[in-house]
């Protein structure tokens, strides 16, 4: 029964936000100092969290609480959120609108002339690196448990890929994301960070 209730709440969380942005709950007050009043992000102190799925945001709060994502600022912040507040905060930021982007559908381009876009749309299977868009969606739009990368701050994308490499970010099933990050070179991480940030 509990499993069932969990599944239901997951389904509800996974609903995309088409409606009006929600009013800010009191529990989100603490977040806006670094993430901005609507979660648009303040580089370099806080990444954009607006428009991420509520499922993803809630999952990340839990990972910070469990220490699977390590960050000296976010760890105590996440601990202030318990119970319903996690859902309120997640839904608030998930409801914030993001700029529409013109979707690149796989196959639209057959060959790319630089490494970052090749990795994003085709991967490098010689090294068992799948295309980013396979999980993160067309143009890395994100959905469900996969965050939107398009238009995210380059500095944040870079620190996250490095965190996957060093193990200060965990929580992916079977280490799938860690395994990909670990195969990327420093130059590829820089190139990917700028490329993804520039998808607008």
């Amino acid at each position: 029964m509990r499993v069932f209730a969990c599944l239901i709440s997951l389904c509800l969380l996974a609903q995309p936000a088409f409606s009006e942005p929600l009013p800010m709950p009191a529990s989100a007050q603490l977040c806006v100092g670094c993430h901005g009043p609507t979660g648009g992000g303040i580089e370099p102190v806080g990444p954009r969290i607006a428009g991420l799925s509520a499922e993803y945001i809630a999952q990340q709060i839990a990972l910070f609480q469990q220490g699977k994502r390590q960050n000296p600022i976010m760890a105590p912040m996440a601990m202030t959120l318990q119970g319903d507040k996690i859902t309120q905060v997640s839904e608030y930021f998930a409801s914030q609108a993001l700029p529409e982007i013109k979707l690149h559908i796989r196959g639209d381009t057959v060959s790319f002339n630089e490494p970052a876009s090749t990795l994003v749309y085709q991967g490098d299977w010689g090294r068992l690196i799948p295309a980013c868009v396979t999980c993160h969606g067309s143009s890395t739009l994100g959905g469900g448990q996969f965050p939107r990368l398009a238009g995210q701050q380059a500095s944040y994308i870079k620190t996250q890929l490095l965190a996957w490499q060093t193990g200060t970010r965990k929580g992916d099933v079977d280490g799938m994301m860690a395994s990909i990050a670990n195969k990327l070179t420093a130059a590829e991480i820089d190139a990917l960070a700028s490329y993804l940030a520039a998808i607008k």
Binding site: L103, I105, R106, G107, W125
Partner: protein, 353 residues
């Protein structure tokens, strides 16, 4: 004598599925292919970069083949009746060894099939993919789509052979008529260095073809144990009900069962085929992570769920079809966990979106 030739459209319409335009028997084009275990000494054909597809009319066909392969949904409602793309199972756009690469498949056709006592060309095999794996309606012989998919496969195969045997230059162009036949034929023209290095039969059995066969499980495979494996390793991407994940309406993480997945005639509905695929290719981008037993169990779980109907179903019903076409490791016509007989509540073949 093959009874299926006697099927007709009115009979099919009486059944629970409606199939338009099927006027003759659908042969078993997804008959089990010969698979062999992986060997540590295996080396695979190199693949050319997509950037090296030549300019011009022939190159355009190759490019179109690639585009259809990775975005097969552009044919939805025409030839495709589910939410899959070819590249969901054929990793790296049909280029990855041990994920049924196109370069190996192309050189294995035309192939003689004992089951229908017929030689199937490459384009007939591709038609089988549309009918079963894509739960759709196969494009006609020599249609632009089948020519393009054949051209992409041929270019990968020939380019790989040329690079392996250091034959310089562009892949020789073939006529459309020749492209759709496949590469396993005596009149398939090959540079001398390649022809003298491997026989036709050796080329048809390249290392890396298909999904490598894994050993039988220690315990009989079990959907019940598989459910636990699914929850732990598969559900995050494929969903709690096998529904896959669509982002902005586009599925990139494919549905594994239910109305939007491959149908009961597709090769992947066999437990052994699914187990071989899963063991080698899942979790995505990781390869070989599950134990042999887990791969078999989760394959049993996924293949014991209802999916679109086998298009070969007649008014004789599921049990009859199961007897004729499903004498293998699979759940069609069987009941699991006291549920209804699988196939009896199957989803429609080639539905409108």
């Amino acid at each position: 004598m093959n009874k299926v030739i006697l099927w007709s459209v009115p009979l099919l319409l009486l059944s629970s599925v409606s199939i338009q335009g099927v006027s003759e028997a659908l042969p078993d084009k997804q008959a089990e292919l010969f698979t062999s275990p992986k060997k540590p000494t295996d080396s695979y054909l190199p693949v050319r970069s997509l950037a090296s597809i030549p300019k011009g009319e022939f190159g355009d066909k190759v490019r179109m083949g690639y585009q259809l392969f990775v975005n097969t949904q552009q044919l939805r409602g025409q030839y495709v009746g589910n939410e899959l793309n070819c590249s969901n199972c054929h990793m790296d756009a049909g280029r990855k060894a041990n994920a049924s690469p196109l370069w190996a498949a192309y050189l294995a056709y035309p192939a003689y099939r004992k089951k229908n006592d017929k030689v199937n060309s490459y384009q007939e095999r591709l038609q089988g993919c549309f009918t079963y794996s894509m739960n759709g309606q196969a494009p006609d012989n020599d249609s632009p789509e089948l020519i393009a998919l054949s051209a992409y496969s041929y270019w990968l195969a020939m380019g790989g052979l040329m690079d392996q045997y250091q034959v310089a230059g562009e892949v020789p162009e073939l006529s459309d008529k020749a492209l759709v036949l496949g590469g396993k034929r005596d009149d398939f023209s090959l540079p001398e260095a390649i022809a003298s290095a491997m026989t036709m039969d050796e080329r048809a059995k390249l290392a890396g073809r298909g999904f490598p066969a894994i050993p039988k499980p220690e315990l009989a495979y079990s959907p019940e144990r598989g459910a636990e494996v699914y929850k732990a390793h598969c559900q995050a991407c494929h969903g709690d009900n096998g529904q896959g994940l669509a982002i902005a309406g586009i599925y990139s993480l494919p549905p594994l069962w239910g109305p939007d997945s491959f149908n009961w005639g597709a090769g992947m509905h066999r437990v052994n085929t699914a187990a071989n695929f899963i063991y080698e290719n899942m979790p995505f981008g990781k390869s070989i992570t599950l134990t042999n037993q887990q791969a078999w169990d989760v394959a049993a779980y996924v293949t014991s769920k209802e999916r679109p109907q086998d298009p070969r179903l007649t008014n004789k019903g599921v049990a009859d079809l199961a007897k004729q076409y499903h004498q293998h490791q699979g759940y069609y016509g069987k009941a699991v966990d006291n549920g209804p007989m699988l196939g009896s509540k199957a989803y429609p073949v080639n539905p409108d979106k």
